[in-house]
Amino acid sequence: MTQLSVNGHDYAVHGDVGTTLAETLRDELALTGTKVACAEGHCGACTVLVDGTPVLSCITLVHTVEGSEVTTIEGLRDHPLVDAFVRTDALQCGFCTPGQIVSAVALVSRTPDPSSDEIKHAMAGNICRCGAYPKIEEAIRTWRD
């Protein structure tokens, strides 16, 4: 068993060798807000925070984050960035959106007023095939409005 804290709740999860954090979150804890789109660390859809740092949960083995504080989109529902994404229409199909918001939360917690370049640097690992990028940038720029 692996001890894990997710969104402020403590869990003992199976954590067999080879089990990823994304699998544990989605399959064992039913926290399906974290999406898996490529399962090999290329697209950013599965981004979660581990002790405040964005990580790709699809290529993070769950036993390596034992004792850490994991934050998923379910733990960020009241974050102003959620309303900013909805207000600015920064999502279309929405499949990448939880990962986008988690990455953006990590950015604004370090840099509350990010420049356009800082936004592009921090968010370039999150692919949106619908191309909501201009409005994702707007959402992050205006997240405290």
Binding site: G18, R26, D27, A30, L31, T32, G33, T34, K35, V36, A37, C38, A39, E40, H42, C43, A45, T72, I73, E74, L76, R77, V82, D83, F85, V86, R87, D89, L91, Q92, C93, G94, F95, C96, T97, P98, I101, I119, K120, H121, M123, A124, G125, N126, I127, C128, R129, C130, G131, A132, Y133, P134, K135, I136, E137
Partner: protein, 736 residues
């Protein structure tokens, strides 16, 4: 009264005649311009569910007892299975069933493209299913694949007879021309790469099946599954509440649905079959490559006299030969046009519709060559386009139901006039320029489509229809239309969709048809409800009382309105139009092309939601920039094996690749189209972007790029060619 009528139905340029039942009472269109709710920007009514991860996609569903599937796919472009033993897979822990060729038609032993399904296993966990597929003893006799489209055409290895379309006298037209330009253009294979991969969960319930599936067409899945399984359509229930992108690739049930259905039948459990990202790159469809050999003739005053094209669609092993010749046939007034289109059948994965199939590719060739013509004639490219504007559809001699392309050109002038300033910002190494291209595409939608509107005593309304929202924001647009017609606030309307058992037939979300097909049905249903409420008010002697006061009398009773999509205007051509102006910077040392600014002006009739519409435009342009500059599915020229099977090797745009995008819509209702005058916007923005970029590159550097993607290699090739041409031209007088 219900009327049975015969009318035309168009999806992505393909017409069919259909019988439909029309029961709508005709409604006058609203006057042009923004209204109380329709035409006002609205945030998505389901935005919060999607943003917070509460929206449940097919990928998130776990049904009780559900089994997981892995599929053995051919690793070879052409091979014969000589031996297949499923026993080692069945012996592994957690495995419930395994199927192979002969069990269902979707599993084959004659493999004609890499990724075709051969066998499948279901198990308690995905890891167990994958281990079992690896254990299958499969041997292949590898055969030589046919990969070259020109060779396939020469050998007559085609999907169908070549499509020949001709009007006027092309030879005469070219003889009358003062200037003739000709060139060969090539476009590459690109992949849809919806972030939610293709997947379905199938469960047998009683004597029917429930199908949860990521799809663009609930009713098409219902009919396709019913036909494939030999069931009456009503025994197939199809559910898709949220789906993670499709772009044309999720219109049909495909192998994964039938694999899940057969494994579910054998195990009597719910079975999920989901493609991996790598399977998505081989077996989920693609935008096929094309070769276009084009010729345009014009008089010295710019009047087009003739156009001809030979098009080869490198379709792959299946699919169809899309209308790559469409833009040449339809975009300009030209009396003499002749095109021949071949669909080459190759040992490569089958194409599927991808956001304006054919027109994206064909517009690149036509509009790039038109600018070469403009340069030869020394006529401004915008003036050349205006000069050859088509006042009526020249293919079938039909009037346009509505066309505001000249107004699009007028509004584009401000952006076009920036070119002198943009060019002046060039340096020795970085050259800047501006290019433009026009857009023509379908997007009128059509019948049949139905909606119900339910109003309760709380004054709130629910739109009920079994359509899907693939991410374009149709839920929100339908709520706006119903709220407008009923005269109630937007947040008093909910939209219930996504389930064939809980709503009437709704159109496919493809061909830019959802809003123009569904919107008029929703408005008709809301008007029907409104009429009933007015009748109640009349009987109560308070005809002018507000809706809330009337329905408050209802207690548990409900008002049910129903509406149907009426026919398209008979004998008219319903199309969308637009123009895009692009600014680029080209590093002439490295060949790197950067798109710095895109201005888009489109004409899609009445705009329901300007906020969602601008998102559609931006998304189409960004996907088009990927198509133009970075995306290409590569295969080995000898073995045919696919080389780009991950999102690392297949390069899609990120937020760092996005230029400034300025968008504008003419927002003039199409006077002949439905009770709304609205057309679709999903596809038009991706149509002209590649040509506009190529034309901006010519403006910046004088180089003619003729191949997509415009990689650094292609850019440097075009620059070398331009330099050699210049040397020839400058050097010529000395030799005299």
């Amino acid at each position: 009264m219900a009327r049975l009528i015969r009318t035309e139905k168009e999806v992505e340029g393909r017409y069919e005649e259909v019988w439909i039942v029309v029961e709508e009472d005709a409604l006058e269109q609203w006057p042009a311009g923004p209204r109380r709710i329709v035409g006002q920007p609205a945030a998505r009514i389901d935005g919060r569910e999607r943003a917070t991860g509460q929206a449940v996609y097919t990928a998130d569903l776990a049904l009780p007892g559900m089994l997981h599937t892995a599929v053995l796919r051919s690793p070879h472009p052409r091979a014969r299975v000589t031996h297949l033993d499923l026993a080692p897979a069945l012996a592994l822990p957690g495995v419930h069933a395994a199927i192979g060729p002969g069990d269902i038609p979707q599993l084959v032993d004659e493999c004609n493209y890499q990724g075709v399904a051969v066998a499948a296993v279901c198990a308690d966990t995905l890891a167990e299913a994958r281990a079992a597929v690896r254990a299958i003893d499969a041997r292949f006799d590898v055969l030589e694949p046919l990969l070259d489209p020109d060779e396939a055409v020469a050998r007559g290895h085609l999907l169908a007879e070549p499509r020949v379309r001709s009007r006027g006298d092309v030879e005469r037209g070219f003889a009358d021309a003062d200037v003739v330009v000709e060139a060969e253009f090539r476009t590459q294979v690109v992949l849809h790469n919806s972030l939610e991969t293709h997947q379905a969960i199938v469960e047998w319930v009683g004597d029917g099946v429930d199908v949860n599936i990521s799809t663009q067409y609930i009713w098409g899945i219902r009919d396709g599954v019913a036909e494939g399984l030999g069931l009456p359509p009503d025994k197939v229930r199809v559910v898709c509440h949220y789906m993670g992108g499709g772009f044309g690739s999720k219109n049909s049930p495909d192998d994964y649905t039938f694999i899940a259905a057969e494994l579910a039948r054998r195990t009597q459990r719910a079975v999920k079959c989901a493609l991996t990202r790598r399977e998505e790159h081989t077996a989920a469809g693609n935008r096929n490559a094309t070769i276009q050999r084009l010729r345009i003739g014009a008089r010295s005053d710019g009047t087009l006299t003739a156009m001809s094209g030979e098009f080869v669609n490198a379709v792959g092993w299946g699919g169809w030969s899309s209308s790559t010749e469409g833009p040449m046939q339809m975009l300009y007034a030209c009396p003499n046009v002749s095109t021949t289109t071949h669909g080459a059948k190759l040992n490569l994965p089958p194409m599927k519709a991808f956001r304006a199939p054919g027109f994206v590719e064909g517009t690149f060739g036509l509009e790039a060559l038109l600018d070469e013509l403009a340069a030869k004639l020394d006529i401004d490219p915008l003036e050349l386009r205006r000069l050859n504007h088509a006042d009526q559809d020249e293919v079938e001699g039909r009037a346009y139901s509505g066309k505001n392309l000249l107004e699009c050109y007028r509004r584009a002038e401000a952006h076009w006039n920036r070119r002198h300033e943009v060019r002046s910002r060039s340096t020795d190494v970085v050259k800047r320029g501006v290019g433009m291209a026009s857009q023509i595409w379908y997007g009128g939608g059509g019948p049949p489509s139905y909606a119900w509107v339910r109003v309760g005593s709380d004054g709130r309304a629910a739109v009920v229809t079994a359509m899907q929202d693939i991410g374009t924001g149709t839920r929100t647009a339908m709520a706006q239309i119903a709220a407008e017609e009923l005269g109630i606030p937007l947040d008093h309307v909910t939209v219930s969709l996504g389930d064939s058992a809980r709503g009437p037939y709704a159109a496919i979300s493809a061909g830019s048809s959802t809003t123009p097909s569904m919107g008029p049905a929703v408005r008709a249903a809301a008007a029907d409800a409104r009429r009933q409420i007015d009748e109640i008010a009349e009987q109560r002697g308070t005809p002018d009382a507000p809706l809330a006061e009337i329905v408050a009398l209802l207690e548990d009773a409900q008002i049910l309105g129903k509406g149907a999509r009426g026919p398209n205007p008979t004998g008219m051509q319903v199309l969308t139009f637009g123009v895009q102006v692009v600014e680029v910077a080209v590093d002439v040392e490295t060949g790197e092309v950067t798109v710095e600014r895109v201005a888009a002006v489109h004409d899609v009739g009445r705009v329901i939601n300007p906020l969602g519409a601008s998102s559609q435009i931006e998304g189409g342009i960004i996907q088009g920039i990927g198509h133009t500059l970075s995306e290409e599915r590569l295969h080995d020229r000898v073995t045919g094996r696919l080389l780009t099977t991950t999102l690392e090797s297949y390069r899609m745009p990120t937020i760092a690749d996005v230029p400034e995008i300025v968008s504008e819509l003419v927002d003039e209702p199409d006077p002949h189209l439905t009770n709304l005058g609205s057309k679709g916007l999903g596809e038009p923005p991706i149509v002209p972007i590649a040509a506009a970029i190529a034309n901006a590159i010519r403006d910046a550097t004088g180089a003619d790029v003729r191949r997509l993607p415009i990689s650094r290699e292609e850019m440097l090739r075009a620059l070398r060619e331009a330099a050699a041409r210049e040397k020839e031209r400058v050097g010529a007088p000395a030799r005299v």
